[in-house]
Symmetry: C2
């Protein structure tokens, strides 16, 4: 099985990473590409609501709880540490590409989202960037796409990682 | 990698499956056994709260969304079908045993939880049972443990599946 390409969408807080990712995911889905997303939360998440069954089983100490539903499955792993990106990516199967929101200190190829009214500098080392999404025509040796051009970025990813399914 | 043993805890609705599972999970954890739990939900679960980032990315059509936190990870797979037990069990790694709540029509070895004030019959075919948890001394050829004896069931599972880590 080949490694699934992992690309990190980075940028300053408030630059519009989630908004852009939403558009990019929609665009990739139109092309029939299977997309996984990894997001980092600073706080622990609660499985289910306090008192409900899965919450009770998780609190009882289950190392993993899966909830299976007609439309999918939720899997919660209790760990005493944070998983790194490679471990997280390894949990995704049958995906064509995995996008991460953030992880700017990770070692994956990066797309930086930048808005001129928000910041006049990039947070990434240009050597780690494969593309920029911005309203500024940055000239750092990688393609720049407009903030409203998720289609351009999707074309770029399709071609770079040969993930089209047409 | 050997297959992880999967045992289904079944019984009539209201018989106390979740309560017993909670006790059993605690008991297995005391023994340092790694436990996964699978539960079935009739309704789809919502990832995160409406409007929040991971919810937005899931709604945008992401086939999988992982949320990584300091204490673990949540992984949500959007599917257009329900996973079967073997697929679900395949998602668990590094577990010593996986317990399912329900799945009485599944083909895994079963432990039935029964309470005399609730039902005077078993829902399972005795041929599929490996044990019964009840306040009645059922005589159907498998060991019977009391409702307050999760330790006895843990001993039984440890011995049957050789999963102790002492």
């Amino acid at each position: 099985m080949r490694d699934i390409p992992v690309v990190s969408v980075v940028g300053e807080s408030g630059a519009g990473k989630t908004t852009f990712l939403e558009k990019l995911v929609r665009e990739l889905k139109v092309r029939n590409i299977r997309v996984g997303v990894i997001k980092h939360h600073v706080h622990d998440i609660d499985i289910d609501r306090p008192g409900k069954d899965t919450w009770r089983l998780s609190r009882a100490g289950a190392d993993a709880v899966a909830i299976s539903t007609p439309g999918g499955v939720g899997l919660f792993l209790n760990l005493d540490r944070e998983m790194d990106l490679d471990e997280l990516a390894g949990m995704f199967r049958d995906m064509d590409i995995v996008l991460t929101e953030g992880y700017k200190r990770g070692d994956k190829p990066k797309i930086e989202v930048n808005r001129s009214d928000h910041s006049d500098r990039l947070v990434s080392d240009p050597a780690e960037l494969i593309a920029i999404v911005s309203d500024v025509r940055w000239e750092v040796g990688v393609p720049v796409f407009g903030l409203e051009d998720p289609g351009g970025v999707a074309d770029f990813l399709e071609s770079r990682y040969r993930i089209g399914r047409k």
